[in-house]
């Protein structure tokens, strides 16, 4: 929903008789008291900033090996020190630095994959929902074919064929996730399509393009954002899974799943190498989920829970 538009309409109404709060005001009130949204969103924001500023935040290089300093334990261990707050790995690389640079890659892949999926999936869903009939039958058939495929095995195969580069992973994950948008937006577009304001626009002679872009799309945006946040979390988890299985970002480039995979051999002797990246993925995924749930609650039409 475009905020300016909504409040403009609301102000116009207020001049006459309406005392009820505008949707935008309702959202502001809800947002203010929604703890989950602020905690989750705040944490995600911090992660993004830290990842983006990685080279300026940490004094170490993620690839610099120092074989005299292998397996320095994290700072909460008696032998740990603040020089390497999360210790070092089997090659003496600073683990916090690897984690931050890994975050750069994992977050970037997650956000980009979810974005590509959102664009492709939304377009497909809107086409099916808007045109209906045969067009919709084709859209449903494409969606059903996608749903029948075992997602993880297909993703693994595609990475094995095209290689574990950044671009390939973004595209493979986008391919794995577009259907959620398509399914949801198809249904909502169908419902919106039959409403009066669309009929009014049609009667006024608006082109299809105009109807889809300025009548239907604004009403779908909050759904897209909600699905988007949840899919970012999922994409990060699946990217980590692919990297963990060795078919994702290739070492020595750090990624969160890759760190777990690299630390796996050391799991019984230096468990922090596995627990730290795992807990990081977990907390980030929870934060993104909290943010998504928050956005859903805040933007939900009145009365829904």
């Amino acid at each position: 929903m475009a905020p300016n538009e909504t409040s403009a309409v609301a102000t116009a109404e207020n001049e006459f008789h309406v005392d009820a709060p505008t949707p935008w005001e309702v959202m502001k009130v809800r947002a203010r008291s929604h703890m989950g949204f602020w905690i989750g969103g705040g944490f995600v924001l911090i992660c993004v900033i830290v990842a983006a500023l990685a080279p300026w935040i940490t004094p170490f290089d993620p690839f610099d090996q120092d074989l005299d300093k292998r397996f320095v334990p994290p700072v909460w261990n008696e032998e740990g020190s603040w020089t390497h707050p999360l210790g070092t790995d089997q090659f003496g690389r600073d683990y916090l630095t690897r984690l931050i640079f890994g975050g750069q890659i994992s977050l970037a892949i997650g956000f980009l994959a979810a974005t590509v999926a959102a664009i492709v999936g939304s377009i497909i869903g809107m086409i099916g929902g808007y045109f209906g009939g045969r067009v919709d039958a084709v859209v449903m058939y494409v969606i059903n074919s996608k749903l029948a495929l075992p997602g993880l095995i297909v993703s693994l195969s595609l990475v094995a064929v095209f290689g574990g580069s950044f671009l390939v992973l973004v595209l493979v994950l986008a391919f794995a996730f577009w259907d959620a948008y398509a399914v949801a937006l198809r249904t909502i577009t169908m419902q919106i399509r039959t409403q009066d304001f669309v009929a009014a626009a049609e009667a006024a002679g608006a082109s299809r393009r105009r109807i889809i872009l300025s009548e239907i799309l604004p009403n779908l945006l909050n759904q897209v954002i909600v699905i988007f946040t949840l899919e970012v979390a999922l994409a990060i988890l699946i990217e980590a899974t692919l990297s963990f299985l060795g078919l994702g970002i290739q070492p020595p480039t750090p990624s969160w799943g890759g760190l777990v995979s690299e630390g796996r051999d050391q799991m019984f002797f230096n468990p922090y190498l596995v627990t730290i990246p795992g807990v990081t993925i977990f907390i980030v995924a929870i934060a993104i989920n909290m943010m998504g749930d928050g956005i859903r609650d805040i933007t939900a039409p009145e009365g829904r829970n």
Partner: protein, 305 residues
């Protein structure tokens, strides 16, 4: 009802054909499977020989029709890696995965349904919130990492359970926990949402107004209706699990279908990969049809529409 069934069946067959073509092309997408199989330092003549031996020099559609034709008569070709018939590889691995998927499904339902009901009945209390936190955590924990942590804690530190192998049911405890906990949240949320929706519906209000006591209304009237979507998602979820056990099987050294698929992908063993992908997709398609039919049988609104 018959019309509805025939419609679904025709779409399903189209989807199955599409999916089988996709599965067949999966490892061929690189464009040059023969040189991948022949290895990095193979000569042109060797590549030609490999292509000829596997029939890769023929046009794509001939290869596909040949494979699909033999597959219909039960011949899925032989593994490029071990020369074993693919059919035997799959039938040997399938029982392990089916066992794992069944146990995990049961575990997730046993947790999800009571918890979902409890959360709905005690909506907006601390019980509801705790259930939500539990669900969000289950969704956010990376599968592979949870499995490793179980190995670390229950397998090594406490030494209660075996961490590898598939000989007895005890070997399945940790893998089942890992998958069950991550597939539980969706079912729990669905049960909760369904229960809340049904509890607000007219026939429940009527039943309460008649003076029936709360408990009997909850469990006799509401639950039956609320559980419908869970029943149908259970079938679909089983189909999903068959293709989603890759990670857990490889962590716990179970020789199931997921592990075979991963091995085959890494070895570019295309006859195995294409058959596994197609087979999992076919099972999924069959399960969705069955679940659609059950739904239509239970809910006249679906079959008459």
């Amino acid at each position: 009802m018959l019309n509805y069934f025939l419609n679904r069946l025709i779409v399903a067959i189209l989807v199955a054909i599409t999916v089988s073509i996709f599965a067949f092309s999966l490892l061929r997408l690189s464009g040059d499977l023969a040189s991948e199989l022949a290895g990095d330092d193979a000569s042109e003549a060797e590549i030609q020989a490999v292509a000829k031996a596997y029939g890769l020099d023929r046009p794509f559609h001939i290869q596909y029709l040949d494979w699909a034709g033999s597959a219909l008569s039960g011949d899925l070709g032989v593994s490029v890696f071990s020369n074993e018939p693919v059919f035997e590889i799959i039938t040997a691995a399938m029982p392990v995965t089916i066992k794992l998927a069944t146990y995990s499904l049961i575990l997730s339902l046993v947790i999800a349904i009571p918890l979902g009901i409890l959360a709905a009945v005690r909506r907006n209390t601390w019980i509801d919130r705790a259930a939500l936190v539990f669900a969000v955590s289950g969704q956010a924990i990376p599968n592979f990492w949870l499995g490793l942590m179980f190995i670390l804690v229950f397998g090594v530190m406490l030494a209660w359970l075996p961490i590898a192998g598939q000989e007895t049911w005890v070997h399945f405890v940790l893998p089942t926990l890992t998958i069950g906990l991550s597939s539980m949240p969706v079912k729990m949320r669905l049960t909760r949402a369904g229960m809340i929706e049904v509890m607000q519906s007219d026939f429940i209000r009527t039943a309460r107004a008649k003076g029936l006591n709360r408990t009997s209304v909850m469990y006799k009237h509401a639950l039956r209706n609320a559980i419908l979507p869970v029943v149908s998602i259970t079938m679909v979820s089983f189909g999903r699990l068959l293709g989603g056990t890759v990670v857990v099987e490889s962590i716990f050294a179970l020789n199931g279908i997921g592990f075979e698929a991963l091995q085959a992908i890494i070895r570019q063993d295309f006859p195995v990969v294409q058959s596994i992908v197609a087979m999992i997709a076919f099972i999924y398609i069959a399960l969705t049809i069955i679940s659609d039919l059950i739904n239509a049988q239970l809910d006249p609104r679906i079959r008459l529409n």
